[in-house]
Structure formats: C-alpha cells, structure tokens
C-alpha cells in the first residue's frame, strides 16, 4: 500500500481486503456472489408467496423482496472488477437495505407467528455478510454483522413480545440473531486469515533481485555497446592525434563534433523512459507515447510492473494493431492549463533523485490515458482484457475503462513519486 500512496504514509493505513490482495481470485469467485444474491431473492419471493403464517401485508412482503433484490444488485455491481475495490458505501448500503428488509419482513407478517421457518430474513442477513467476505476487511464485516444481528433480534423480539407463544422473548430474539452472528464470525475469520496469509505470500515486484551472473551479463553488454562507439570514433581519433606533433583547427573541430555526438546520444538515453522502451520492445511498429516531461518514470516498481504487463498483453494480442496504440501522460493539475517549464531545466526532470533544496510540496498527480484500436467486439475485448483490468484497478483505484467496439481507452492517475 505504501507503494501506492507513499505521500500519505502518516495516515493510518486502511485494512486491505481479500479482493485487493488477490484481485484475480476475487474475480474468479464472483459467481458465488451471483448465486447467493439470486438465491436470496428467489427464496424471499417463494417464502413470501407460498409460506405465510399470517396474511399480514402483501405490500410489505413485496417491499421486502425488493429490498433484498436491491441489496443483491448493490453487491453485484460493486463487486465488479471494474469497480474494485468494493467501496465502503456499497457495504453500508448493502447492510442498510438488508436491515430494512428484515424489519419489513417482520412487519409484513405481523401476528402470532407459529414457525420461524418463514422468517427468512434472519438467514438472508447471515448470507448477506458471507457474500461480501472477500470484499471488505474483517472489521467492517464484524460491525455490519453485529448491526444486522441486532436489527433481527429487536424485530423478532418485538414480535415475540407482542404475540407471546411458547418461546421466551429472549430466546426468540437470540435465535433471530444467531445465524448472522455465526456467519459473521466465519466471514470475519476468513477475511482476517486471508489478509494475514496473503500479506506473507504477496508478489512484490521490489522483492526480486537480479542474479549476480545476470548483473555481470548486463554490465558486459552495456560495456560492449559503449566500447563499440569508442573503438569506432574516439580511439582512432586519439591514436591519430598521438602520431602527430601538433593539434590543428581540424582536430579541434573533430573533437568538438565527436563530443557533441556522444553527448547528444547520452542525453537522449537519459531522457528515454522505461515505458518507451517497454512499448518499443513489444510494439513492433511505431507506437506513440506522448510524455514530454517523462512523468511515466515516476511510477513505482509495482505500478510499472502492472502497466508493463497490460502493455505487453495489449500489444501482443492478435486483435490489437500496435500502430493504433496511443499513450498520453500529463500532470493532472496542468492537464488543462499551459505547461509549466520544468522540462527546460537541465536537472529538473523526474529522473533527478536528489534535488537542490526546495520547499516541500504535496506529490503532484499524474494522469495517464491509453488508447488502443482493437479489432474485436466489446464483449471480445472484455473477454481478453478483464483479468488485466482487475489487477490495474486494484493498483490504480481510479482506473476508468471505456470499451467500445473496436476501441479501448484506459484512464488512470497516480501520485508522482
């Protein structure tokens, strides 16, 4: 998490959810959400129609079913990989809707209830918490579950007190809350255990190291590149100079020309970003990267890894034309205004790790827009890229994906590190 928001390290870190630790796993288990949500609605509907102890209010029964359906829709919508991570407001809405449904179901069959079997809401509130176990931290699950258990206990307790039967009020109230309490405990333990284990086995790009043999290979390769230039241009010039006694105007001009050439190539190398290299490696054609200030270099290692994975997958997909790949990188605050002049300074680019004393300013936001031409339908685009979107979305929570037939546009931003 520090990798995503290092500038806000002083704030307490929010607990991560199973979905944030394992976006692909959460995406794979989403069918359970669909099944539980749909099952809840069907069950509520069947019980409301066919298994009524008292006639009560059919309108309130219909309202109950609608509230259950609404909560299922909230969970289904918010658990989409495109909206990850599952927001807290959605969880609060889900709990609120289930709580209201619970009250409505008791009100709908207000009367001398002889059986608990048709009081389906005590079970639906329990499964409601389990449904979101992968999407919210254990603390949220616990609080939500306790709230729903309390609502159930009060609603059932009120009914039992108003229409006394063989069951003591305290027992009726507790039994209404028990399924939710038990499944809340299970869901919270799941979320907590998952987070604890995932934290230990999490893939961290920064934890990789380049092996010694590989380091030697890289050093040898870079050295070879440089030696080639030296052997071709510099060494013959120096050798020639040493054979003569005097330095002439022609020698001075040649020295200047060689130095300018080397310097220009060094400046170009230093200004080229990792992203341009990554795109070029996978692109083939001449993809366009519009990043005048080299801001893409300010992504951290994890973020770069995720973007690199998407770029490679996109450019290598058979349906994507690399020539139709466009990336624009701009400061978010300057995106609409005129560009300020940092690019003109010699050492003011983002590549400078150690700057001259400057006043501390909050990290600037950088906005990235990627556009691709994809020869596929929107369904096909989703089929190919959804898992990548899931990972990108967890890394860049404001990721916006626009899918149209034959076109894909991604927009996200991050704090400049």
């Amino acid at each position: 998490m520090t990798a995503v928001r290092p500038g806000r390290a002083t704030r307490p870190r929010p607990r991560r959810t199973a979905q944030q630790y394992d976006p692909l796993g959460a995406m794979g288990s989403r069918p359970l959400v669909v099944v539980l949500g749909a099952g809840s609605v069907v069950w509520a509907l069947l019980v409301s129609i066919f298994d009524r102890d008292v006639v009560g209010s059919p309108t309130l029964s219909a309202l109950t079913v609608l509230l259950v359906a609404a909560s299922a829709v909230v969970v289904f919508t918010a658990s989409s990989p495109f909206r990850a991570p599952f927001p807290r407001w959605a969880f609060i809405a889900h709990v609120g809707l289930l709580g209201l449904a619970s009250v409505a179901s008791i009100a709908a069959q207000w009367g001398p209830d002889r059986s608990a079997l048709n009081d389906f809401m005590s079970l639906l509130t329990a499964t409601g918490i389990v449904m979101v176990a992968s999407y919210r931290p254990w603390t949220d699950l616990t609080i939500g579950g306790l709230v729903l258990a309390a609502v159930n206990a009060v609603a059932w307790g009120a009914g039992a007190a108003e229409f006394p039967h063989e069951v003591p009020v305290a027992v009726a109230a507790f039994l209404a809350a028990a399924p939710t309490l038990v499944l809340t405990a299970a869901a919270a333990v799941f979320a907590r255990t998952f987070a604890g284990l995932a934290e230990r086995v999490q893939i961290r790009a920064g934890s990789y190291s380049v092996a010694r043999a590989e380091r030697d290979g890289i050093a040898a390769s870079v050295q070879q590149d440089r030696s080639t230039i030296l052997s071709r241009d510099v060494a013959p010039f120096f050798a020639e100079l040493r054979t003569r006694d005097v330095i002439t105007d022609a020698d001075r001009a040649r020295a200047r020309a060689i130095a300018d050439g080397i310097r220009a190539s060094m400046v170009a190398d230093a200004d080229r970003t990792w992203f341009e290299l990554a795109v070029r490696v996978d692109g083939g054609a001449a993809p366009l990267v519009d990043d005048p200030d080299g801001l893409i270099a300010t992504l951290d290692t994890d973020q770069r890894t995720v973007v690199r994975t998407f770029v490679r997958a996109a450019l290598r997909a058979s349906t994507v034309d690399p020539a139709g790949f466009r990336t624009t990188v701009r400061r978010a605050d300057a995106a609409s205004g005129s560009a300020s002049g940092p690019a003109s300074g010699p050492a003011s680019g983002p590549a400078s790790p150690a700057g001259a004393p400057t006043p501390a300013t909050p990290p600037a936001r950088v906005e990235v827009v990627m556009e691709l031409a994809v020869a596929d339908s929107d369904i096909g685009i989703h089929r190919t890229f959804d898992p990548y979107f899931a990972v990108l979305r967890v890394t860049f929570p404001d990721l916006d994906v626009a899918v149209r037939p034959s076109a894909l546009a991604l927009r996200f931003s991050y704090d400049q590190h």
Partner: protein, 406 residues
C-alpha cells in the same frame, strides 16, 4: 503488491475457508449453549445444564482436530460429535419440546459436523466429508427423536449449511484459464522491470564514466592551443582509451582491503592537485572506509567531477573538500569561492552535474544539495548512507542492486 502467486492462491483461499469453517462450527455450538442458557433463565423449570454439557466434548474434539488436522482426528471428531449430537438431541427433546426451536437447536449441533469434517483443500473431499458429517448428525438426532417417539424434525438449518458448503466449493474453486494466465505474466513483468531498472542504472553509470573521461578529454582538445598536445592530457587520454576499450570497466568490483578507501580518495585528490588545483582536505577521510564499494566508487567519482568543474568553470584555483561521519551516513562537501552559477540556467545538454554527480549519488541511495549563485562560490554536499539502499531512487537511477558497478 501484485496478487498471490497462482500456485499459492488456492491454498491461501482453502486455509482461510478452513479457519472460517472452524469459526462457524464453534460459533454454532456457542449459539446452542447460549440459547439453552436463555431458555433456562427464562423458564426456571427447564433443566438445560445436562444438555449444554453435551457440547463440551464436541468443542474439545474441534480443538483436537484443529491441532492435528489428520483423517484420523476427523473420524474421531465425527464419532465423538455423533454421540454428542445424540446426547444433545435427547436433552433438547425432553427439555425444550418447542416445535421449531427444537429443530433449530438440533441443527446447531449438526452444523459443526458438516463444517469441521468438510474443511480442507480438495473440493471433492470437502463435499464428501460434509455429507458424511451431515449424515452422522442426522442419524444421531433421528435416533434421539425416534427414542422419544417425537415427530420428525426437519433440521432446515443443517440442510442449508450443507447446501452452502457445496455451493462454496462449486463456485469458489473455479478459476478461469484467463486469470491463471495473467499471474505468471505479472511475475515475468516484475522480473523484467527489475532487470530493466538495473540496466538503466548501469547505462547511466557508463554514461557518467564516459562523460568524466572521454568527453572531458575531447573538450580539452577542442580548447587546446595550437602546438603539441599537453603531456599530461596525452597521458590520461592514452590511459582512458586503454581502459574503456578493454574489458571490465563496468564489472562489479571486489571488496577492497581496509584503508583502501582513503587511499583511493587521496589519489583522486592528488590527480587534481597535479592539474593545478589547490585542494584542501579536512575532516575524517577514514569514514569513507565504512562505505560499501559501490557507494565509495560513486562518491569518489562524483567528488572528482566536482573538482573538475571547479578547475574548468569556477575561475579559481582552490577548493576545499570536507568529509564528515554522522554514524548513519558519510557526507562529503566540495566548496569553492569561485564565480558560482545558476543551476537552472545550465544547458540541458550538460551532463556533468546531472549524470556524474546527482544521478550517480542517487543510484547508491544518496542525496546531493547544491548552494550556488553567480558571484558567490559553490558548495556541493553529497550524503551517502553506509547501509546500501535498494530500489530507493527513481528511474533511470532505479537500479536495485547491491553489486558494485565500476
């Protein structure tokens, strides 16, 4: 963070589910006891202690199974659990013969049998054990009900739990091929990212070395007066070409002997003295010995570049180099009282300060501060931590390597 490796994800999920099942099982038994206690408190005539005690061996056996987690402990749990379920059902039949509450309570003791046996990593085994647990509990409670001649109890909650376990297995162990493909790609990218950052660091260092040597000499030749080449320049040109066209100038360095750092630093300073610069060294140069080889190379080369800048641009023939040790890092300051400069006004094509000082020190996790303005001299302060910092700097200086680069 980039997710969980593909081969570990099912295990993390399975183990979390196992723990959740255990929590559900214990919670279910606790709920049964609380219900009985509430019943006993609400209706003093009802004796619940004997029935509540039936839960204790089950709880103990859950503890045993959690501890050992073998097939034998699972069988033992089912056996003890079956007996306890029968014991509990007999007590409930006699003390709480209240329609749905009786069924509810019996379900609460059958649920652990479904959950605990069924906790595991292999989906088919989970379902099988859950069925066996359910049948064990159902049989035990059926015997108790039959003994009492009571009407059959549906145990709806137990059925729902069984259905839940089966659907959980069905819908959470499915992993799409597409998702499985992405995780290895992430791993590959993480590796590429690392290699690419390392290479960028090596290339930047190579550029800086090239700048300090060949470019400097070419500049000197371009400015040289008519006539024979300066003998010292000719000597260093020969030496540098021999080194740069040879092998190993970028290879990682070997660990030097103690005291070598101060000597290396001293000979670098002497070279600049030989070129006519009056360099005063103050402070404790032995602090340089505490730096790792890569940091030492960086700081020696950076100081050399600072001194070269003084000679070429400052319009003075004197400079002071001070070395400080603040226990966590080594700080070297190069001060001159020359003409000074405005860093922002330096041309973008001038690589000296950027490549040979700032980026170079940044690559070893250090920090550079420059105070200068036209007419008031220049102070360059370079601070390098003693402990190598990995991955602490931005691209192109993001090489996360501990190896020395020369």
């Amino acid at each position: 963070m980039l997710g969980i490796p593909t081969h570990l994800a099912p295990r993390v999920n399975a183990w979390s589910t196992v723990r959740a099942f255990h929590a559900g099982a214990v919670g279910s038994l606790v709920a049964a006891v609380i219900t009985l206690v509430l019943y006993g408190l609400s209706e003093p005539g009802v004796q619940v202690v004997g029935t509540a005690l039936a839960v204790v061996p089950m709880l103990a056996m859950i503890g045993v199974h959690v501890q050992f987690g073998t097939r034998l402990s699972a069988i033992a749990f089912l056996a003890v659990g079956g007996v306890c379920a029968w014991w509990f059902a007999v007590g409930v039949q006699q003390q709480v013969p209240t329609g749905w509450v009786t069924s509810y309570l019996m379900s609460l003791v059958v649920i652990p049998l479904i959950l605990v046996g069924g906790a595991g990593a292999v989906p088919r085994r989970v379902v099988l054990w859950s069925f066996v647990g359910f049948l064990t509990g159902r049989l035990a409670t059926w015997i108790a009900i039959a003994q009492d001649g009571a009407p059959p109890r549906p145990l709806i909650l137990a059925w729902i739990t069984l259905g839940f376990v089966v659907s959980l297995v069905l819908f959470t162990t499915r992993s799409t091929g597409r998702s499985e493909r992405v995780q290895p790609e992430l791993l590959r990218s993480a590796r590429e990212e690392h290699v690419s950052a390392y290479r960028a660091g090596v290339e930047a260092e190579a550029s800086a070395i090239l700048h300090d040597t060949v470019l400097n000499h070419l500049g000197a030749i371009a400015l040289a007066p008519d006539g024979p080449m300066d003998p010292h320049l000719a000597e260093t040109v020969d030496a540098d070409v021999a080194v740069l066209t040879g092998k190993g100038w970028l290879a990682p360095a070997a660990r030097p002997r103690p005291g070598a750092a101060a000597e290396t630093f001293g000979s670098m300073v002497d070279e600049h003295r030989a070129l006519g610069l009056d360099v005063t060294v103050s402070g404790d140069t032995s602090a340089l010995d505490r730096l790792d080889q890569r940091a030492l190379s960086a700081i020696v080369r950076a100081v050399a570049q600072c001194l070269a800048n003084v000679r070429k641009h400052a319009g003075t023939d004197a400079a002071e180099v001070s070395v400080f040790d603040d226990s966590a890092s080594c700080t070297v300051m190069v001060v001159d009282d020359g003409r000074g400069f405005d860093e922002d006004a330096t041309g973008a094509d001038r690589m000296g300060l950027r490549g040979s000082v700032r980026d170079r020190i940044g690559r070893v996790g250090g920090d550079v501060q420059i105070w200068s303005s036209p007419g008031s001299g220049t102070s360059v302060m370079m601070t390098v931590p003693y402990v190598p910092v990995t991955g602490a700097v931005t691209v192109p200086a993001a090489a996360d390597d501990r190896g020395a680069v020369r």
